[in-house]
Amino acid sequence: MSDVNLQGIVKRFGDVQAVAGVDLHISSGEFLVVLGPSGCGKTTLMRTIAGLEKPEEGQINIGARDVTALPPRKRGIAMVFQSYALYPHMSVAGNIGFPLKAQRRCPDRTEREQRVYQAAQMVSIEHLLDRRPRQLSGGERQRVAIARAIVSQPEVLLLDEPLSNLDAKLRAYARDELKGFQRKLGITTVFVTHDQIEAMGLGDRIVVMRDGLVQQVGPPQAIYDRPQNTFVATFLGSPGMNLQLVSERVQRGFRPEHLLPLEELPPGAAHEPFSWRVTRVENLGSDRLLYGHIADYRGEMQLTVSRLPSNVTIDIPLDTVCEFGVAHDQLHFFDVASGERLAEGVAA
């Protein structure tokens, strides 16, 4: 197991900067999630770590080695693609054994078969070794891809949206399994996704990317609780943070779950009051989403969302002015021009 260090990585395609200068340190054994919307450069960043793309600038270290100029096979990495990229003409055993043969690290046939079996056992597919990929379900294919990735005992495991081809129910299960499995192996893992739930649930730390740049790095809860800018604030959370202009230079943000009826606020907490009309209610079972408009400092109405957990049973009449509030410590302030978070107190 090794750590990974990226310094000033820049990758261009023609005139487009897919990765525009990324510094990142991934600790040994860490599960790092790279999160961002499509086109933000997260996959390119991962392919650069893998060695499938050569960066124009910057340096990549895996452990103590500078691997910037090395081909993928000399980097000690393994990768699982979104499509799983199983070789359709090989059996499951052939697929899992392919890296061992290709890297010539395991010339002994019996030992190779044994390692293939062990890898298959690790993801509970040892009964499928003779099958062809097309005879497998989506979940089984994903496991084959993972077995193939771990069979050569890589130092770093790269996962490119490996769960996005699974149906929703299976995904939650696969998430749990993947995490448990990564803990067991203790392998340094980089996981790319555009799904914030996956990111929040899996990552030891999350890297939020946009337009080829890192927006924020940190543990999931810290990023959620203290977003560094308005992009992170609105990208994370479902729905994202409400934003509201409070002056020409400052906007205020608060999460939907913090906009609550006054009587639901912690007793005695200092709060900002909001009077608004709820125009639509979505009942999601576990939550209620309330939609309405709140005026900003210029008097312009802005769509605002409140999320009430199901244990808040208070009746919300439509199109009637209701008294809501947000606790002061749940308010976030951002610079309007840059979108950057303002230090506490600056806004006030």
Binding site: R47, R73, F81, P99
Partner: protein, 313 residues
């Protein structure tokens, strides 16, 4: 009037017949009838001068089978076809690999690739009879440019390895004549095979090739264990296409050697033409050509089955 028209147009049975009729007519008149005629001729005594039908059973086939020229033609047809296909598929694979290799994103590279691809397809786009006439000159016994190059390289002529003659006489010596015929077939079939293989190669998902690279596979392992197995069905189709074209081809042999020297480059289509048309013995000519039929039938069946299976994958 309109009501009747629309009733006809809505009648899918009637419309089906109407739409299928041209193709059916074409197949019956231009393929079916000649085939039946050939079958009838082959069991008769028909000649160019007397097409009256006298049934003689399989006598023509037996007679033809015992002719040494026929045996030569049979062996040649198979060996030319098989050797030409092997050479073609190897060459086409190399070319397809080269022509699908990504180039640095430079304008000159893209233009160069475009020119290379266009040049490649030319032998296939030229009418066969014309290009074979061109090759006839290339293989000329006196003025062959190939011989000229060999002479300039001091390989041919008095006092050289292949001397002392000044010419190799390509089409006059059995082995060279055979090689020339095979060469022209390879030259002719390689473009199509290359294009088919290029299509196959570019249909391989890039993820799969990236995966092979990440898995640590180098060029030749990726080529032989990933790329080639994946394009195998399409390669087989290209191979069978080439087989059918070469096996039933008359043009190349007819223009270059007419089967000579003696019968060294005689093929079944050529022999059938010589016996049936030049020699006027329609019955025997038909019998010779019918020997081609089962082979082509078999190949066509394999071809169609492969094609349908390749589609499923």
């Amino acid at each position: 009037m309109n009501a009747i028209m629309s009733r006809w147009i809505d009648d899918s049975r009637l419309m089906g017949i109407v739409f299928l009729a041209p193709a059916t007519l074409y197949i019956v008149l231009l393929v079916g009838l000649p085939f039946v005629t050939a079958l009838l001729f082959s069991v008769s005594t028909a000649t160019v001068g007397d097409a009256s039908f006298n049934y003689v059973g399989l006598r023509n086939f037996a007679n033809v089978w015992q002719t040494p020229a026929f045996r030569d033609a049979l062996v040649n047809t198979f060996s030319f076809t098989v050797i030409a296909q092997i050479c073609t598929i190897i060459l086409a694979n190399i070319l397809a690999q080269l022509l699908t290799t990504p180039l640095p994103q430079r304008r000159s590279g893209r233009i160069g690739m475009w020119i290379a691809r266009m040049l490649l397809i030319l032998p296939w786009a030229t009418p066969l009879s014309l290009s074979v006439v061109g090759w006839l000159w290339m293989f000329d016994s006196k003025y062959s440019p190939i011989d000229y190059i060999f002479r300039e390289l001091a390989l041919l002529g008095p006092g050289t390895v292949w001397g002392p003659a000044n010419n190799l006489i390509w089409l006059g010596k059995p082995l060279l004549a055979k090689a020339s015929i095979i060469f022209v077939h390879v030259w002719r079939m390689t473009p199509l095979a290359t294009v088919i293989l290029m299509a196959g190669l570019s249909s391989i998902p890039t993820d799969l090739l990236d995966q092979a690279e990440v898995d640590g596979s180098r060029y030749f392992r990726t080529l032989f264990q990933v790329k080639l197995p994946l394009i195998m069905p399409i390669m087989l189709i290209s191979l069978l296409f080439g087989f059918i074209f070469t096996f039933g081809d008359l043009t190349v042999v007819y223009i270059l050697t007419r089967g000579g020297p003696i019968t060294h480059t005689l093929t079944l289509p050529m022999y059938s033409f010589l016996v049936g048309i030049d020699g006027g013995n329609l019955a025997q000519g038909a019998a010779v050509s019918l020997f081609i039929f089962p082979v082509l039938l078999l190949v066509a069946v394999v071809l169609l089955r492969t094609a349908s299976r390749a589609e499923v994958r």
